[in-house]
């Protein structure tokens, strides 16, 4: 007689093809129930308002383990704000952000600190600490959270991380952030974000301000982080090439100020193939980089 057995669903990179919550008979004849694992990150009906300015309206989004989601949209549409709400740096006005099923807004300081240690955040301008050397910057999270680690262990780990992002440890080790180039700073920021073996990486415009070659290096690092470290990723970018190359799924936000009262702010959620076929004029205008009526609208605003 076949017995019921619960197993964790392996979430494929394309979540739309993953069978979850279904029952099937395995090759061994055992009846198995695929249990639905909660998404790693879940955003429900999120609204963010700064003073009288609403930035995000009714955003609902799920990020599953192993997938990379690119959030695209024009400047000022709230992409970075959305990214920061995902880690609790910006508090939602209403709605909830759940990390592994836990609402970030209801966590105590200690619990939030613990939750954040599962995140890696790559900032737009790297946000390295000016007063520290490159080695100290990369080892910072380890020194804060793994006090039991010996100095030699920390050094070895930092060395490995720097090599992984394509930097020569002996060259950059004792340099300060002001002594290295923008591309190197981004990669140091990347190494620092990976130091704690995160489960999810948040990238805030990681290719902005980089030359095309360095941009592609950063793209490869993001793919590498997903494939080798099995981390989920959320990439905020204007760079369509980067979004299409790195992400399994693309989400497009539209500026709240340009929306009609009943329109959703998330105007696209699908794969890279689907976005090129999307018939929404606003999506097409963005991905083709066309000014369209915007110049006329801007002159009318003036």
């Amino acid at each position: 007689m076949a017995s019921n057995q619960e197993v964790d669903a392996t979430i494929g990179l394309d979540s739309s093809r993953t069978i979850e919550g279904s029952v099937f008979i395995g090759p061994d004849g055992v009846k198995k129930v695929l249990r639905r694992r909660p998404p790693l990150l879940e955003i429900n009906s999120l609204n963010v308002i700064f003073g009288e300015n609403q930035v995000l309206r009714d955003i609902t989004l799920k990020i599953r383990r192993g997938e990379t989601v690119a959030i695209i949209g024009e400047s000022g549409c709230g992409k970075t704000v959305l990214l920061k709400t995902m880690i609790g740096l910006v508090a939602p006005t209403s709605g909830e952000v759940l990390f592994k099923g836990e609402n970030l807004a209801t966590l105590s300081d200690k619990e939030l600190t613990e939750a954040r240690s599962h995140y890696g955040f790559v900032f737009q301008m790297a946000a390295l600490f000016d007063s520290m050397t490159i080695a100290e910057n990369v080892s910072f999270p380890l020194r804060q959270h793994h006090k039991e680690m010996k100095r030699r262990e920390v050094s070895e780990r930092v060395e490995r991380l720097l090599e992984e992002v394509g930097l020569n440890p002996s060259v950059v080790w004792n340099k300060t952030p002001s002594e290295i180039s923008g591309g190197m700073r981004k990669r140091v920021g990347f190494a620092r974000a990976l130091a704690m073996d995160p489960e999810i990486m948040l990238y805030d415009e990681p290719t902005t301000g980089l030359d095309p070659i360095m941009s592609d290096v950063v793209n490869e690092l993001m793919i590498n982080a997903r494939d080798r470290h099995h981390v989920a990723g959320v990439l905020v970018t204007h760079d369509m090439k980067s979004a299409v190359k790195v992400a399994n799924r693309l989400v497009m936000l539209y500026p709240h100020a340009l929306l009609k009262p009943d329109e959703p702010q998330m105007i696209f959620d699908g794969t890279a193939d689907e976005i090129w076929r999307c018939e929404d004029k606003r999506v097409a205008q963005f991905i083709r980089g066309e000014a369209g009526d915007r110049i006329r609208d801007m002159s009318m605003d003036d």
Binding site: T113, R116, S117, F121, R192, M196
Partner: protein, 287 residues
């Protein structure tokens, strides 16, 4: 036509009135919100100080920046204030034939008021503005967000060492300012104004009691705490760009200075009461 224009005038007067009241309400609510924000920030600092003291490496750096590097400027200020007091007071005392008592006036003013207030002002100018500018730059360049994103509380990591350093080191700085002021005043009075040195020191000794020195140092602890909290708070809520950092640095000094003067008055009143009630008012006087 006349009725219409009268109505229009009334509407416009009403609009102006509503605008003014709204503006006032907004200004009051923003100040109340600022005070509340500062109070929450201060409580958060105290909470982290009690729950988890600052790390040694951050504390050492803050002690060096705030204590050691401030010492020369505080001592220099103290010296010149002592000499300026001598220049200002001497003609007044000479008119009434009491120039030998000038030391009492200089030293009492120094240890009770000018030493603590000027040491605190120098600390606010040299250290406070630098703290606000440094933390403001960290805010603008997302370094504070980076700390949070790595599971490190920015108030614990950045504010508690600076707060503790200001709190602990300002009495020492005040003492050095007092000392150098006393030396500067004595040098100018005795060497350049020909005041008899034995009378100068004798009257000073009678006028200045240990209580006065300790009261000045006691006040300075509050000044130090206020400077650290105000300047760190200004840095944390810094606006965007270079302009935001500049504004944070300026407002941190202005607010710190106002706080120093307000606390000075408040603590003087309280210490006088304490002196009267507990110690029976036994202290030195100039005359």
């Amino acid at each position: 036509m006349t009725k219409k224009s009268k109505n229009r005038r009334e509407t416009s007067a009403r609009d102006v009135f509503i605008k003014r009241v709204t503006g006032m309400g907004r200004a009051i609510s923003s100040r109340v919100a600022f005070a509340g924000n500062l109070a929450v920030f201060s409580l958060s600092t105290l909470f982290w100080l009690v729950v988890k003291g600052p790390r040694r490496e951050t504390l050492t750096r803050s002690f060096f920046n705030i204590g050691v590097l401030s010492l020369p400027v505080v001592m220099l200020t103290g010296t010149f204030i002592g000499m300026v007091l001598a220049v200002q007071a001497f003609p007044q005392f000479k008119v009434i034939g009491m120039e030998t008592r000038i030391g009492a006036a200089i030293n009492l003013s120094l240890v009770k008021e000018l030493g603590p207030v000027l040491a605190a002002t120098m600390l606010a100018g040299r250290v406070g503005s630098a703290i606000a500018a440094e933390l403001g730059t960290m805010r603008v360049t997302e370094q504070i967000d980076a700390l949070s994103s790595m599971g490190v509380n920015p108030v614990h990591y950045l504010v508690t060492p600076r707060f503790l350093a200001c709190l602990i080191l300002i009495p020492g700085l005040t003492l050095f300012a007092d000392l150098m002021g006393v030396i500067g005043g004595a040098f100018f009075s005795i060497k350049l104004l020909d005041v008899d040195w034995s009378y100068y020191w004798e009257y000073s000794r009678h006028a200045v009691a240990m209580y006065d020195v300790l009261a000045g140092m006691f006040k300075s602890v509050f000044f130090g705490g206020a400077i650290a909290l105000i300047c760190c708070h200004q840095g944390f809520r810094c606006g965007a760009g270079a302009e935001g950092v500049g504004k944070a640095a300026t407002s941190s000094f202005v607010l710190s200075f106002v706080a120093i003067l307000f606390l000075d008055l408040l603590l003087d009143v309280m210490l006088d009461q304490f002196h009267e009630l507990v110690l029976g008012g036994q202290s030195g006087s100039v005359v």
